[in-house]
């Protein structure tokens, strides 16, 4: 159903937002999560975020994503303002079948990709059937 939607409205403000020492607003990044045989892959939209400004941590079965956006400076004469800028935050509860020690992530073009490999035990396995 969502697949046919070609538009994306302005960003959502986080509902359950953590306190920020810098003040300001947190946004909830939009994510796609895809499962393949070997892993779950999470794609998060974090426009304006440099790879160094992503803080990704896994604790107690929760994946916490916090991405900082550099302040973009003063704008004297604003003609149109359709979206706000601010840091991104989102938390995910992860099932224990994820091998947390092998989680990897990369950030490029404002897209954060997180690879969550499944533990060996839950990967589908092809079982060879011998005749005779």
């Amino acid at each position: 159903m969502l697949a046919n939607i070609t538009s994306s409205p302005a960003k959502d403000r986080a509902e359950a937002r953590p306190e920020s020492t810098r003040g300001g607003v947190f946004f909830t990044p939009r994510v796609d999560i895809v499962e393949t045989d070997g892993e779950l892959t999470l794609f998060a939209e974090v426009p304006g975020v440099k790879p160094d400004d992503v803080d990704l941590r896994y604790e107690k079965g929760e994946l916490l994503l916090h991405a900082r956006v550099q302040p973009r400076g003063e704008r004297s004469v604003v003609l149109l303002q359709e979206y706000d800028e601010g840091d991104f935050f989102r938390a995910f509860t992860i099932h224990e079948s994820i091998d947390s020690g092998r989680i990897t992530a990369e950030c490029k073009n404002g897209m954060l990709t997180v690879h969550l490999p499944k533990v060996e035990a839950v990967r589908p396995r092809q079982i060879a059937v011998r005749g005779e």
């Binding site: 538009s7 960003k11 892959t41 304006g48 099932h95 404002g110």
Partner: protein
């Protein structure tokens, strides 16, 4: 196949209730459940003026500059066109799909004519920034006042 996946969604990602909330919010935002009501609004734009320059900014995560078409027509019409592609790996099953994809185009009427030959666009970390120069005719002119 995919449909049955949704049924077993919550044990892996305990966020089914959140998904429902989000669906509700999606439709609230677009007004009366009509998805087309917001279709013309992508990408969202911020526009500001700095002396002789006009800056237009949009968030386009995951896109490359070569995927975009940016041009000025009719003196003050700026158009941004492109396409967002879905990133489904081979044999993948969706657990969650919040990112939209497909072709988009947006035309903005600027409040003054701009120089169509001096358009500079940069895409950095998924943020598109376009710098335009006000056309000669739109610039303030100093008028010499002669005394006698």
């Amino acid at each position: 196949m995919t449909a049955s996946r949704w049924q077993t969604f919550s044990p892996v990602w305990n966020q089914l209730h959140q998904f429902q909330d989000e669906m509700n919010r999606l439709f609230d935002r677009w007004g009366n459940g009509n998805p087309l009501a917001g279709a013309a609004r992508f990408p969202a734009l911020n526009v500001w003026e700095e002396g002789e320059e006009v800056w237009v900014e949009a968030e386009l995560p995951g896109l490359n500059l070569k995927d975009l078409e940016i041009y000025v027509s009719g003196g003050n019409q700026l158009t941004v066109k492109g396409e967002r592609k879905p990133n489904l790996p081979d044999n993948g099953v969706w657990h969650r799909q919040e990112r939209a994809f497909g072709a988009f185009a947006r035309t903005l009427s600027l409040p003054f004519p701009v120089d169509a030959d001096k358009v500079d666009a940069r895409l950095e970390n998924g943020v598109l920034r376009i710098r335009l120069n006000k056309h000669e005719s739109a610039r303030p002119r100093k008028i010499a006042v002669k005394a006698e």
